[in-house]
């Protein structure tokens, strides 16, 4: 299955906007595969980002479906 990704606050244009996952993968699997494609600094940001699935709260156990939209929100702080 393919899931779509939208990044907010992550400024690495080389990151994919969709990836293929085994059926019934959960968010933990998605994160592992995505982080595997990232450089060291991007991986650090991904590790502390907020993930939403179809605009809803999600955790590592959330099971993904084909065509889901995963929003990755990297809060930078600042005033």
């Amino acid at each position: 299955m393919i899931v779509n990704i939208k990044y907010f606050g992550l400024l690495n244009e080389k990151m994919p906007i969709s990836i293929e996952l085994p059926d019934d993968s959960n968010l933990k699997v998605f994160k592992k595969i995505l982080i595997g494609k990232a450089d060291k600094h991007t991986a650090e940001v991904l590790n502390r980002a907020t993930f939403l699935v179809n605009k809803s709260k999600a955790d590592n156990e959330t099971v993904l479906k084909h065509n889901d939209l995963i929003m990755i929100l990297s809060v930078l702080g600042g005033g």
């Binding site: 600094h41 939403l52 605009k55 709260k57 929100l73």
Partner: protein
């Protein structure tokens, strides 16, 4: 020689025109560093209990720190201090730009002003010469025009100015001084305090060098920071797009408040609007990058807006706080409206956070039928209505009709109209800033209990939690030690005149190294902790003396998830802010119920004799 300091402070009494110089003593420097450390120590002595914040007894300080006017990176901040006409308690606020270093190069670590002038005046400090000058002809000018006028009048094109605009002259409680045309120590009503003193501006010009104990060590630290920043994505992001780069992610993650703190970003605001008001989108108007003094990052930018409803020949990139205050809290995704509101605030001298949040309060009141169209002078203040937001902002800036009421902030307006109190999002009377404790729970403690309530630059656990999201942060046990450590660390950073970005984008631990290298003091972690806590205690004691105890301090229910949100990324979270407070005060050595710091703790920290005397009776002075 006192390294890292100009060595003198100047005190100006506007009632009688007396100008007095005092030495910056070694004891003051070692024990209170600078910034609001100096401020708290001096104002505790100078301001009588119960003084009217808008009366002659209030003292307003403009204070630098040891990093200011040296080559230390990120060392360009200065701090204003005074008793707040908004909260009735202690107030400090800080600002970047070039004003602070110029004041120090003009010969003074700090300027303290009390009294009330009998006509509008400005204070001119030029290389050690201090004058009170007539400002009658400048009264009514906006903050940009007055800077230009003062350059011409003084014949010094390089003067730096911290001035109030028309809002401060009218003593609007959300007004503030503006320096360098667009930088502001924005919070707590500093503009009103200056206005009450008929003090239009502080004008500084200086050419003196500040002695540094170990300049080679400063260079070495700078090199390490520069190396670190090359690889830091956060530095790259803030250096390229400024603080507003994170606006969309913050709005959607729950970091930013939405719909007067009652909404959910992904549901009520949406990703399109969030992206519209982020700096990456807004930077289509960018004409020039802007760095504050000694800053390697450069988070500021100038804009020229030629399209939209409100073209602006020259304006500034809104900060994150501003974009969120006029964006997600109002459900406004209209970029031109946000840029116009930011510009009005800069020109008239108004705190953008309190302005946006006051409009958010009025907007919710209007939409809930609490305030009528007549109350708002015919403005249809519907959610997200950019045209209405700009109209109301302009009325607030002009002090026109309902704008004159709202220009004193939401708490004042609710009291004036005697309605809408249930929609106030204020901490002890001041509007909350733009990071949500439901996202970073430690912020609830700082917003509610810091001696300067409702601030986003007071460190603590929340500042760390903001950088990532995990479930552990909702465990509120045993938070005291961590919270205290991050708080006192921030006390030192602020008082050293270092920018928050020295913590956020730079190499950790450099602030103590900078202080040691600049001043020659042995400023190790233990000393830093003791000093930071001493400064905290001094600010805290100012409030206790005014009768403001922790149990009197307030935070709005929505901000702590009472009730919790029922959808979105922060669904279900509530924060036990009282427990966070109790944990913090226990770690700090402060009794939660009385608010009094324990006598033994004050004695251990030392140099707090006046606090000991005030709280525990006479002490044997060393």
């Amino acid at each position: 020689m006192l390294y890292g300091y100009a060595g003198k402070m100047v005190f100006v009494n506007l009632s009688n025109g007396v100008i007095e110089e005092k030495d910056t003593t070694k004891e003051l420097a070692e024990n209170f560093i600078g910034g609001y450390g100096f401020g708290a120590k001096i104002l505790f002595d100078m301001i009588p209990v119960g003084a009217d914040p808008l009366g002659p007894e209030n003292v307003m300080g403009f204070i630098t720190g040891p990093a200011s006017a040296t080559k230390a990176l990120f060392g360009g901040r200065y701090t204003t201090v005074h008793k707040s006409p908004v909260t009735g308690g202690w107030n400090d606020a800080n600002s970047g730009g070039y004003f602070g270093p110029e004041l120090k190069k003009a010969g003074y670590d700090a300027l303290f002003v009390n009294g009330i002038a009998n006509k509008p005046v400005y204070i001119y400090i030029n290389d050690g010469k201090v004058e009170i000058r007539d400002a009658s002809h400048l009264w009514g000018m906006d903050t940009k025009k007055v800077w230009e006028a003062l350059k011409e009048e003084t014949g010094e094109p390089k003067v730096r100015v911290s001035a109030i605009g028309p809002a401060g002259e009218r003593q609007s409680l959300i007004s503030c001084p503006i320096n360098d045309g667009h930088r502001a120590p924005g919070r707590g009503g500093g503009g009103a305090v200056m206005g009450s003193k008929k003090l239009k501006a502080i004008v500084v010009r200086g050419t003196k060098d500040i002695p540094v104990a170990h300049p080679e060590k400063v260079t070495e630290i700078n090199k390490k920071i520069s190396e670190y920043m090359k690889d830091s994505q956060t530095s790259y992001a803030f250096g390229t797009w400024g603080t507003g780069v994170g606006t969309p992610a913050s709005a959607l993650s729950g970091d930013s408040p939405v719909k007067n703190w009652g909404g959910v970003g992904v549901v009520d605001f949406g990703d399109k609007k969030a992206e519209n008001v982020g700096a990456i989108a807004l930077d289509r108007y960018k004409t020039k990058k802007y760095n504050c003094a000694s800053c390697p990052l450069g988070c500021g930018a100038e804009y020229k807006v030629e399209d939209g409803r409100w073209p602006l020949e020259q304006t500034e990139r809104p900060e994150y706080e501003t974009a969120a205050a006029f964006g997600s809290t109002l459900l406004c995704g209209e970029a031109d409206a946000i840029l116009k509101c930011n510009d009005i605030c800069n020109v008239y001298g108004i705190d953008t956070i309190s302005a946006g949040m006051t409009i958010a309060w009025a907007m919710e009141c209007y939409n809930e039928g609490i305030l009528s169209k007549e109350d708002l002078d015919g403005i249809e203040l519907t959610w997200g209505n950019g045209e209405a937001i700009v109209l109301l902002m302009q009325k607030m800036a002009d002090g026109d009709g309902c704008g004159a009421i709202l220009a004193n902030g939401s708490a004042y307006a609710a009291k004036y109209w005697n309605k809408g109190e249930e929609f106030l999002q204020t901490a002890s009377g001041i509007e909350l800033p733009m990071h949500d404790p439901r996202f970073a729970p430690g912020l609830a403690r700082t917003y509610k209990y810091d001696p300067t309530p409702g601030r986003h630059v007071k460190g603590g656990l929340g500042a760390i939690q903001m950088m990532g999201h995990d479930e552990e942060r909702y465990n509120f046990s045993d938070t005291g030690e961590h919270d205290l450590n991050f708080t006192v660390n921030t006390e030192i950073m602020n008082c050293a005149s270092l920018c928050y970005f020295n913590s956020l984008c730079s190499l950790q631990g450099t602030q103590n190294q900078f202080i040691s290298a600049i001043t020659g003091m042995e400023f190790n972690d233990e000393e830093a902790f003791k000093t930071g806590l001493r400064i905290y205690m001094m600010r805290h004691a100012f409030n206790i003396r005014e009768g403001i105890k922790p149990s009197h301090m307030t935070i709005p229910k929505r901000s702590v998830g009472n009730p919790p949100l029922n959808e979105g990324p922060l669904k279900g979270y509530s924060i036990d802010v009282e427990l966070l407070g109790r944990n913090f005060f226990e770690a700090a050595g402060i009794d939660y119920n009385t608010g009094k710091p324990h006598k033994e703790k004050l004695e251990e920290l030392g140099c707090l004799d006046e606090v000991l005397e005030d709280l525990y009776g006479e002490v044997e002075l060393a």
